[in-house]
Symmetry: C3
């Protein structure tokens, strides 16, 4: 089956980056027509999600919603980035998308997002 890897450069502390095109490229290289595509990030303060890619204010509202759910203060972890770890587990570090006729079976409005919660950093994404 093989695995494809690419990097994402984030430029902010918290950011959603649309990686749908990069995942499609990786899928083309894997030459699979009938499969499940797993998109996985090997980091504990980042995540992968699928959501609307038409209006950028959706990603902004999602980051704001998560900030309201997970307060910045009152944590024990000495590095001070516990909110980023919590958001990573809430959203999850992978997504699975059915592959049909060699393409991702995404809905009209669905895009795949890399979610940065403790940037800016260079991050990795695996596609399998």
């Amino acid at each position: 089956m093989g695995i494809q890897k690419f990097t994402v450069e984030t430029s902010k502390k918290e950011e959603f980056i649309d990686i749908t095109a990069e995942v499609r490229d990786a899928l083309r290289k894997l030459k699979r027509r009938d499969a499940i595509c797993t998109v996985f990030t090997p980091h504990t303060t980042a995540a992968i999600t699928i959501n609307e890619n038409a209006d950028p204010s959706v990603a902004r509202d999602m980051l704001q919603g998560l900030r309201k759910m997970v307060p910045e203060t009152g944590h024990h972890h000495a590095e001070g980035n516990s909110p980023a770890h919590i958001k990573s587990s809430i959203i999850g570090c992978s997504e699975q998308i059915p592959v049909e006729n060699g393409d991702l079976a995404l809905g009209t409005w669905q895009g795949i997002y890399f979610c940065e919660f403790d940037g800016p950093r260079e991050r990795s994404v695996f596609v399998k």
Copy 2:
């Protein structure tokens, strides 16, 4: 491998609908005895989850719990359905269930739910 698709008619703004029987039907048609079953919904204001199917008040408490976590006001997205997008990413648009001897290896109390967060609508579910 193939893919099976079915539709779900939701009748409320927010609703959990048990689709375990539909997923089992789809799995039978796919004739797989030893696999991973992916249940995926191609929408950005809906989700798939696995939870208790014995007492319907669990689903009601989950919808209420999510409403407390994600406030209805203060969002930018012009359509006004940002809370539905946020809940979709928190719960996630797919679930993976091991298949053993041709059946879903679900626990005694586990059922598969379609989660509507911006209905009522006709929705699609893919099983692979």
Copy 3:
């Protein structure tokens, strides 16, 4: 492909237990070098997540963060464990990890956690 199963004994009401070594053992027995590893728990008041395994205060902060997000009171379910059901669906009952050269392609800081939300109990985990 086969499936491997093991049990986890939890000792508290809420607890994160690192099961990375047990998952690696199960993967060795499945003898797969190039695959996706699914870790699944068949319970509705528990979950599987991937997060930092270096500093134990991260797990403590995550449990505390989830308790702040999901209030203990105001639920309908007669068993009184609705918060555990809600946390189970937020975190999710499975994780998928790419397998490369026979090993889990986890990041340096990533460990696989069994999340107990309604213990202490004996719990099952499936690896496929």
